[in-house]
Each structure stands twice: as structure tokens, then as C-alpha cells.
């Protein structure tokens, strides 16, 4: 259950990319038959319908999905702002509605929240921050979708930081929380690994890990 069914075939790439970033696959199609013919519709994680100019077709599609014997949820409808009013009284046909030009961040949150409502994606293997994403199941990290070739300890350190953005950690804390065992390097090892991570993130993203003078390190910006 890793694939999002997307209508139509030319679903905007900004939306499919967000789904990919979340660690799921997309199946974009125009043929509703494909959907009804699937042996186990439960095999899909959810449905995402992008209305575009053709809102009536989208509404019909949503109704069709709802009327199935084994319904598929969540149904996420993406519409243009101007067409919102047409959805009045039809809100039972979908579980979530997203305005097409919402920010990527909002679209992502809405997809995650609607998945959660159906008990899906409760513990997504993917955690992300800005251009950075880590898949905890496959141990892979990407920055701007480009894979990072990390060593085990670099990966563990990055995972800890991404899971705790905005917080300042001392070297000793990082050493006990991430390494957790005696190591030849001691506390200075943390500096060494931070530098290695920054080198791998590349100049452009090295600033994601900030040095807090005479304290330690912080990942990501502080959110007020």
C-alpha cells in the first residue's frame, strides 16, 4: 500500500513530486476502468483528483469512487480557487480539499493529515526538512532529491538532528544520544562528523547545521 492513485494522467508535477517526497509512489491515469479493474483497490493508499478546468468531471469521479462497494479513502480533491463555490453541498464526496496554488508545505500537510485520519501514514518512514529527506526504512537520505552517500554514523547523526529541528545540542548530548558508546574520538568526534556532513550536504546546504558558539549545534532554523 504505497501508491497514490492520481487523476488525471497529467496531474501537475508539483503535486506528484510532493507525494514522491513523502516516500510514496504515484499512478497517474485518465482511465477510470483501471481503478475499477484493480483486483484489490485497497492496494492503493488513496485517491487524489485534480480538477483543473474540468470540475464537473472531477465531481463525477469523486461520486463514482464514493459509490463503490469497497470505498477507497482518503479522496483528496485539488481545485482552483475560483471553482470552490461549486463544491457547496458536495463536501461528502471528498475527505480533503486543496487549492491548486497552495504552497508545497500546505499541500504536504493536508495530504499527511488526511492519510492519518484513515489510519494511514501513522508512522511514515520518511522525515524531511526543507530540501532534505530521510527514509528511515531504507536508511537513505536525499538533498534536493540527490542521494547522499553517508556512512552509518553520519546517517545516525543527521537523523537525530532532522528529528529535532531548531533545538540546540551540546557535543556531549549528541555523543551520548547518537553514539551512545565509547569511541576513539570522544566529544571532538561530533565536530568531525558535523564537518563531514556539511561537506556532503554541499556548500549550498551546509548552513542547515548551525554552530552555536561555545554551546554546540542546531539543525534548521528556529521557528517563532
Amino acid at each position: 500500500m504505497k501508491t497514490f492513485l492520481c487523476f488525471p494522467k497529467d496531474t501537475p508535477s508539483n503535486i506528484t513530486e510532493i507525494i514522491t517526497e513523502l516516500g510514496y509512489e504515484t499512478k497517474c491515469t485518465d482511465e477510470f476502468d483501471l481503478f475499477t479493474d484493480v483486483e484489490s483497490p485497497e492496494g492503493f493508499l488513496g485517491v487524489l483528483v485534480t480538477a483543473g478546468q474540468n470540475e464537473q468531471k472531477a465531481i463525477d469521479l469523486c461520486r463514482e469512487i464514493r459509490s463503490r462497494e469497497t470505498p477507497l479513502s482518503p479522496v483528496i480533491l485539488v481545485v482552483q480557487l475560483g471553482l470552490m463555490s461549486k463544491l457547496d453541498q458536495l463536501d461528502d464526496l471528498f475527505d480533503e480539499c486543496i487549492i491548486e496554488d497552495a504552497t508545497a508545505q500546505e499541500i504536504k500537510f493536508r495530504i499527511i493529515r488526511s492519510l492519518k485520519r484513515f489510519g494511514k501514514n501513522l508512522n511514515s518512514p520518511v522525515i524531511s526538512y526543507g530540501p532534505l529527506a530521510l527514509n528511515l526504512e531504507t536508511y537513505q537520505a536525499v538533498v534536493e532529491k540527490k542521494p547522499l552517500d553517508l556512512t552509518y554514523m553520519e546517517y545516525e547523526l543527521l537523523r537525530f538532528l532532522v528529528q529535532n529541528p531548531g533545538k540546540v545540542f551540546t557535543r556531549d548530548t549528541l555523543l551520548t544520544r547518537v553514539w551512545g558508546y565509547e569511541y576513539f574520538g570522544g566529544a571532538r568526534t561530533v565536530d568531525v562528523h558535523i564537518r563531514r556532513l556539511r561537506a556532503k550536504l554541499g556548500e549550498e546546504h551546509a548552513g542547515l547545521i548551525e554552530t552555536v558558539r561555545s554551546v554546540g549545534y542546531r539543525f534548521g532554523r528556529i521557528h517563532w
Partner: protein, 449 residues
């Protein structure tokens, strides 16, 4: 402690190989002379290798052969798993460093990584962590079939107009490749001699740094080879110009504290640092065979270049063996000493092990630090040097071996197996060299005698 690594680390390696579609994994280790060795395994063999080690016949490896049993086990250290982007090919390639064990799973005495680990463990028992930051010098030469004289890239004739650019471009590409695999470079620059370059690495703990030097030497050679150029770490490839050294900066930490730093001491150099340097100077002649292990190494250690020839220390004197850069008060953690003897063709594991052992011995026996050498040592006469109590470093491989042979410290640090094999191998090299009739002799003597 079990020699099998923890499950998470093994899973990390196995999943990464699967996800990144790595086709071959190179198992890396080092022979006693510091030559990189490797064999490739497929992902299918990897899990077993991580859990049970890979058996191979050690008799083919320099210094690994023993009388009774020649099979040994290579145990990959999953913490060192790294995909290598600079290795050309149509599929991903990864490397893992290995520790070598006997079949009964006891550490194999001939494994240089064990030698360094053992010495680091001793330091660790005293709560010390040992850090190293090397400056690796090397030359680029025109590619040839392995015969003939080394031909620098930028002295005019060979690559003509593009020459200076080509070698600097190679160095830049190497630095980028290193950064990509997480090896931060502090400085990279063109050195004094034609086609000579230097790459300075940011400090790490000594074991990681020894592994890193093996990787860097390979990366430099690979990038050069891809561009049809030959990179060499030979200590003195060209007569009359600077040789290639590997000056290395060292520091000792206890937790967060740099124990070489003391705000109340002269020039902030702590007592511990003074004893460490004293130990290094005390044992310098004994460890030189390890830090400078080739006949050619001693062609670099001659007067008039940036290489040290006298056992001495100073804050700001590049003719001294140990230099202590004066640190800014704002950066106490940067207090360090620089040992200027090693060359880039040494075995970094053994080199760091004997340097650390010598320094620790200075601390343990509170050896007194001699007076700082402020004069240019190259300009002092033998008499003046003797009066100042400054001894020379061994001048040939043979002299260095004779000093090493008498050293309890080196024997204990290297262990009996490495110590004996090394001496045997190196005396053999010296004897071979002694039989050689050099060009010098032919041009100097043949016309007149």
C-alpha cells in the same frame, strides 16, 4: 567484546547496498608497508562477510605470511561503509575497511589497523583521544609506461600552454571528490616545486585519519589517472627541488578539553604538551624508520629544503622537527604540535601509532623538554649543533633501521610480528639498494677512475 558489529550498523550497510543498487563492495585493508589491498565481493556475499568475515590466503600479502597457517579473516568495519562516487563505472561501487583476524577470531598480529587501535586504546585508558591533521604533498607527472624519468606537467615542454591549469584543475577535482565522500579539505595549494601540490585535511581521530589517508591517496591517483596523468607520493622524485612530506598536526583531548592548551603557561603550551614533545624528540631517531620507510625517504631528509634533519623543536622555525604553531587565545582548542618528518609514502597506521606511543612515553616518564631551537639549524655547524645538544635524524634507511632495532618502544608498539617482518623486509631493501650502481657513480667515477 564481540568482533561482530552491531545489528543496526550491519542493516544500514545491507539496505544501502540494496537501495543504491551497489554491484560490488570492495573490502579494503593495508599491508605492513601501507600498500592498499582489496578484494571485491558481491552484495550476495556481503551479509555473510559482515557476520562471519571473509577467509582469504594471507600469504600473498606482504607481511601477512606466517609459518603455520596462511589463512586469515577479513572482518569489514560497517562504520566505514562508503559509496565511492569517484570510481568510474556503470554501477555504484562501495568500500569498507577491514580488520584482519586469525581464524580463531583473535586479532591478526600483522594488521596495521590493529597496531594503531591497540595504541589508541592505551591512550584511551588514560582518557586521551588523539587527533591528527596531515598535509599531504605529492607530484603530478606525465603518464608513462612505468619506465624512464618522471616528467613534471608544468615545466614547459610537455603540455605546453595548458599545463599550469591542468594540474591545478586536477587538484580541484580531487578536492571536490573528497568533499563528496565527506572528507573536508582545509587547504589545497600548489607547492614550491613544479607540478607539486598539497592537500591539507581537517583533523579527525587518528584511526579515521589513517583510513582517510588511504582513501585520499587512492582518490588523488584515480582522478589523475582518469585524466591520463600520474600522481606520485614518492618522497623525493626530483633532485634539486622540494620533496613531498606529510607534516602532520597532532593534539590530545580529554573530553572537550585540549590538554595541550594551558592559559597559564608560556605561549599557552601545557606541561602535558611539553612532555609529549619531549617524548617525541627522545624517541625520534627510533621511529624514523616507520615515518620514513623507503631508501628514497632519506633523499628528502637533507639540508636546504623544508624537511627536518635535526631532532629539535621550536615555535616558529621550519627547520625544526617539531613545530608548535602559536595559537590565538580565542582558539585554545587549536593548540597542536606539528611533526615534520613523515612522508606521504609511509604507512599512516604505523606512523600514527609510533608517534602517539613516543608522546605518551614522554608524558608517562615526565621527560624534560630541551631548549627551543630558534636558529636556522641548516646554517649551524656540526660543532654548534653538538654544543646545543641537537642530534641529527638518521641519514639513511640503514641507520634508521639500526636505531629502530634497538627500540623497546617501537617493538612494543608494533608487536613482535610487525617489528620483525618490517626490519627483515627493510634490511633486504637496503641490501638491494647497496648493490645498485647508480647514475651518480657512473658519471662521477667512470670517466676518471
Amino acid at each position: 567484546m564481540s568482533i561482530v558489529s552491531n545489528k543496526d550498523q550491519i542493516n544500514y550497510v545491507l539496505r544501502s547496498v540494496e537501495e543504491r543498487k551497489v554491484r560490488f563492495i570492495q573490502l579494503w585493508f593495508t599491508d605492513i608497508l601501507g600498500t592498499p589491498k582489496s578484494f571485491s565481493i558481491t552484495p550476495a556475499e556481503l551479509e555473510n562477510a559482515l557476520e562471519e568475515g571473509m577467509t582469504f590466503d594471507g600469504s600473498a600479502i606482504d607481511g601477512f605470511s606466517r609459518v603455520q597457517e596462511s589463512d586469515v579473516l577479513a572482518f569489514p568495519d560497517p562504520k566505514t561503509f562508503q559509496i565511492l562516487p569517484f570510481q568510474k563505472g556503470n554501477s555504484e561501487l562501495a568500500r569498507i575497511f577491514c580488520d584482519i583476524y586469525n581464524l580463531d577470531q583473535t586479532p591478526f598480529e600483522g594488521c596495521p589497523r590493529h597496531v594503531l587501535k591497540r595504541t589508541l586504546t592505551k591512550a584511551h585508558e588514560l582518557n586521551y583521544n588523539f587527533f591528527a591533521s596531515p598535509e599531504i604533498e605529492y607530484f603530478y607527472f606525465a603518464k608513462q609506461d612505468g619506465r624512464g624519468l618522471p616528467q613534471p606537467l608544468d615545466n614547459g615542454s610537455y603540455f605546453e600552454l595548458t599545463v599550469a591549469d591542468l594540474s591545478s584543475d586536477l587538484r580541484k577535482r580531487t578536492v571536490l571528490a573528497l568533499e563528496e565522500i565527506g572528507i573536508p579539505v582545509e587547504y589545497a595549494q600548489h607547492e614550491d616545486a613544479p607540478s607539486q601540490h598539497e592537500i591539507d585535511l581537517r583533523y579527525t581521530d587518528a584511526l579515521t585519519m589513517a583510513d582517510t589517508i588511504m582513501t585520499v591517496r587512492l582518490a588523488i591517483k584515480e582522478v589523475a589517472q582518469d585524466n591520463n596523468v600520474y600522481a606520485s607520493f614518492m618522497p623525493k622524485p626530483l633532485e634539486g627541488v622540494q620533496g613531498s612530506g606529510m607534516h602532520t598536526h597532532f593534539s590530545l583531548f580529554q573530553g572537550d578539553q585540549n590538554v595541550f592548551y594551558d592559559p597559564d603557561s608560556e605561549k599557552f603550551l601545557s606541561k602535558t604538551a611539553r612532555h609529549f614533545i619531549a617524548g617525541l624528540l627522545y624517541h625520534a631517531h627510533e621511529i624514523t624508520a616507520i615515518t620514513n620507510q623507503w631508501v628514497n625517504s632519506y633523499k628528502r631528509l637533507v639540508s636546504g629544503y623544508e624537511a627536518p634533519i635535526h631532532i629539535s623543536w621550536a615555535h616558529n622555525n621550519r627547520s625544526a622537527l617539531v613545530r608548535v604553531p602559536v595559537t590565538k587565545t580565542s582558539h585554545p582548542e587549536a593548540t597542536r604540535i606539528e611533526y615534520r618528518a613523515p612522508d606521504p609514502a609511509c604507512n599512516p597506521y604505523l606512523c600514527f601509532a609510533v608517534i602517539l606511543a613516543a608522546g605518551l612515553d614522554g608524558i608517562a616518564n615526565t621527560i624534560e623538554l630541551p631548549k627551543e631551537a630558534n636558529n636556522n639549524l641548516f646554517e649551524m655547524s656540526d660543532k654548534e649543533l653538538k654544543k646545543a645538544g641537537i642530534r641529527p635524524l638518521p641519514m639513511t634507511l640503514e641507520a634508521a633501521l639500526a636505531e629502530m632495532e634497538k627500540s623497546e618502544l617501537v617493538a612494543e608498539t608494533l608487536g613482535e610480528h610487525v617489528f620483525e617482518w618490517f626490519l627483515r623486509n627493510k634490511y633486504y631493501e637496503w641490501n638491494e639498494y647497496s648493490r645498485h650502481i647508480s647514475n651518480y657513480e657512473l658519471t662521477r667515477y667512470f670517466p676518471t677512475l
